[in-house]
Symmetry: C2
Subunit: 93 residues, 2 copies
Amino acid sequence: MTSDMIINHKDKANALLKADADKILKLIKVQMDNLTMPQCPLYEEVLDTQMFGLSKEIDFATRLGLVDETVGKKILDELEKELSVLHEASTRK
Amino acid sequence: MTSDMIINHKDKANALLKADADKILKLIKVQMDNLTMPQCPLYEEVLDTQMFGLSKEIDFATRLGLVDETVGKKILDELEKELSVLHEASTRK
């Protein structure tokens, strides 16, 4: 196992978390783009579940020492911001 | 970074998942031991959420190549078995 295999786990963990976060971001964007449509009543439930899942992955990666705590927190904070923008937009509608 | 640091991630990932699974098992045992008491109505919801969280960790560790898919599946299957024993016991009560 060469040394770049070692770094691989860290890079891969960060990349996986980023990709999973982007999937949630896409879900949020779809909702934002379809605000005029009747809101799927469960979308908040779906997004909350997705956020919970991502937070467990981030916690796991952090405990493993593969991802820095601040990096993990930043990923979640950015999504939380998008979620509150969405929530406000859908309640103002 | 010595080679044992490489293995460390795999061992640590497996150990973390085992420890998280044991936490859920303890929750199940507490419920089993207190079947005669009025069941906390949310215990199934709590256990489902915990199981979902663990499944996301296992999926993440598997995608990272740190844990073998069959190992992850075995962890969840064993807990599912305990959950159905608990469920039956509480409905038979």
